[in-house]
Symmetry: C2
Subunit: 430 residues, 2 copies
């Protein structure tokens, strides 16, 4: 059988990983795919490749890759959205299949791109866009295809999980843990994309579109990062039987599909509460299977290359179908989402404060599940004594909590911004 001939655009970490993995497991891949996977042409901004490209032609012009008549499929690993979009458009014109790990491209323009690809009959593979080496796209599209998905909850940003794990294990501050993540190469010099939840929102938008038939649009995801979480929050959460994880959550509710990314208290007995370091994990709760969980490396050269190769092998077998995303489902606004809450209220240490807070919550229809106020946590600052009052509430809609928090925040006894972290019981131990 003819080889599947690959044009590779981008020779950064993942691009080099694809070259390396294909070279290392060539025989095994040929056997599994039923034909050889051969990189015939490579384009990169760098003047010379830092990796052995075998017999592949090398240059700096991506258009030459797309237009090379030998190329069956273009692998886009350049990053950025503008150049990647131009490359996709060129593939459309040239009728070349397109494999990418570019979650920003997909989360911004994916619905339109996939529609165009279906119209001209090219396949688009994007397993590498979410959770690196974990085949979660395939699980959702194929393994669970007979199921109606009820909810998804995932640790889909390794950087945030690394930072929260370091804060939890060593009681370090966010800034300190972030600095370590940067030193290890897990976080960028400007970490905003990871720690403010933007990357996770992109990935959740992709998962949600596949699972719930909601429009692929990251701007519809409620997005909150981990930068305001403190080691103290993590410690109080632990005292209450929870771990703090940065989760992407999508759920079918009455009224629409919830899509949200935020720090979350998860019961410590859940498997996903015990996923630490840079690892990723996604729980899918579906009607037939119940909870299933998919865990593994979310980033890195070889895990991401593994996902790219899974798409290429599917393509070589004739097994890739570009999904049809209708996007007919409504997104539930965050104000209508119902969760439980952890609140940390920095309040002056005097009688009656807790009563006032409890009254505000009660007035908003919010019932309290637990309170922690520890004498040893009392602090003296600027001539006043204050103490963090920790409250765990029962479930209530976000709009009610917003109103209650606004009222609590204006109490004269509250000395600083109230911290709110959403609580999700999840279930089935996953």
């Amino acid at each position: 059988m003819e080889p599947l001939r690959i044009g590779l655009c981008g020779l950064g970490t993942v691009g080099r990983g694809v070259v390396e993995l294909l070279d290392r497991n060539r025989d095994l891949i040929t056997r599994r795919a039923g034909r050889e996977l051969r990189i015939v042409r490579v384009a990169s901004r760098t003047a010379r490749p830092e990796v052995d490209l075998g017999g592949a032609e090398f240059g700096t012009d991506v258009a030459a890759v797309v237009n090379d008549p030998r190329v069956d499929v273009v692998v886009e690993l350049m990053g950025g959205t503008d150049a990647a979009r131009r490359l996709f458009d060129a593939c459309l014109g040239a009728r070349k299949h397109f494999v990418t790990g570019n979650k920003a491209l997909l989360a911004g323009q994916g619905a339109h791109l996939l529609e165009q690809a279906r119209a001209v009959g090219i396949a688009v593979g994007f397993e590498a866009a979410v959770a690196g080496g974990v085949p979660i796209i395939k699980a959702l599209r194929e393994g669970l295809a007979g199921n109606a998905v009820e909810w998804i909850a995932g640790i889909i940003n390794g950087t945030s999980n690394f930072i929260l794990t370091a804060m939890s294990r060593e009681r370090r501050s966010f800034a300190d843990a972030l600095a370590e993540a940067q030193a290890r190469g897990y976080a960028e010099a400007d970490p905003t994309f990871d720690v403010e939840g933007i990357d996770a929102a992109h990935k959740l938008a992709i998962l949600s579109a596949l699972a719930f038939d909601v429009r692929l649009d990251a701007s519809a995801v409620f997005t909150e990062g981990i930068s305001r979480v403190t080691a103290e929050d993590i410690e109080y959460a632990r005292a209450l039987g929870y771990r703090v994880k940065h989760l992407g959550i999508a759920r079918r509710s009455t009224g629409g599909i919830e899509m949200r990314v935020h720090p979350t208290l998860v019961p410590e007995s859940r498997l996903i509460a015990n996923v630490d370091g840079v690892m990723n994990a996604v729980v899918v709760h579906s009607d037939a299977v119940g909870s299933s969980l998919y865990y593994g490396a979310g980033a890195g050269a070889l895990p991401s290359a593994s996902a790219v190769l899974a798409d290429l092998i599917d393509l070589a077998r004739g097994n890739i179908v570009t999904p049809r995303l209708h996007g007919g489902q409504r997104v539930l606004p965050m104000s209508a989402v119902e969760t439980a809450y952890y609140l940390r209220i920095p309040a002056v240490d005097q009688p009656g404060v807790l009563a006032k807070v409890a009254q505000i919550l009660s007035f908003a229809g919010i019932s309290i599940e637990a309170v922690i106020q520890r004498e040893q946590a009392i602090r003296k600052e600027a001539g006043r004594q204050w103490v963090p009052v920790i409250i765990l509430t029962h479930r209530v809609i976000e709009a009610a909590m917003d109103r209650a928090l606004a009222a609590i925040q204006t109490l004269p006894e509250v000395v600083d911004t109230v911290m709110r972290i959403r609580v999700e019981p999840l279930d089935d131990h996953a």
Copy 2:
């Protein structure tokens, strides 16, 4: 597009689950598959179906299902190997695709069956044969297709995991926990198949053939069940930082592929050590991704039906390829497998016993990592005082341990059979 027309043989738990799930999620499945999945004919031993079959024709003759010219694919959910084999042969003759969850059939004759299926060009799907609703077959064959697998370790028998979990949480005996499993319908009246590891060996044989190109043959799997594990063993394991799980393990070693099913001490920090109750989980350690884990319900009507439907939807999309199993890799005999060991040695409580045991181990080249001998564990029976001596060893090949155990067992101070449980560190926290 024409519907995919299904002939269903067997209307037990899983068969009824398939009917129910297909009916419940009909629109969603049609959309995802790109065409309708329609059950046109059903055969079952029961005189009348206990489920609404829609417009499907019903009878007791499976041959009529295969020979019905409308049927594109036969779903075998009858169980047993003889009738299932005859049904497969009929499908071969009639050129009908074949979807099954019959692990015993596959583990015994799978290599030959798949070869015949490839020869005549029919597809064989068997996602339901391992770990129920968890799409682990698909992950191995497709999601990780670019990877060389280094090892697999899985909780693949929910009954055994339920029993071990009950023994661990409530310090109950094996017999007591088994009785509860039976009362809940998790274990058969004759539980041998589950608790002696036979079912797990079938599943491991299937996973190993896919991952390691070893011959699909359950009789080559070293098989030990959980019936000799005591609540005391679980408690000592916990004191040493381990949980006891019944694992199926396959590993590429120098000299061949290890294939073994046995109770295993796993460090408590591993995710898989925290998979409890009837749930299944499989860790796959592969060269590119490292450790990835797949968790979910391993049995039950709807999880298994979900796996059957995944195969059917793949078939409807034209995406199913019957694997080519070369089986060229050699199996490493158990005597050459290297692991660490937990030993529980019931010995009379007198000076010098531990020295004798240590000397035997040392003579066999086995070094000791930890020893527990507790005064409060001393028992008096038949006029003697004895005590369990717990030893954790470093890694050594099984043959050396066999020799050492034979020698220890003959010591006059050893009052009962020595218990050995293998220890696996696994890694990457999965």
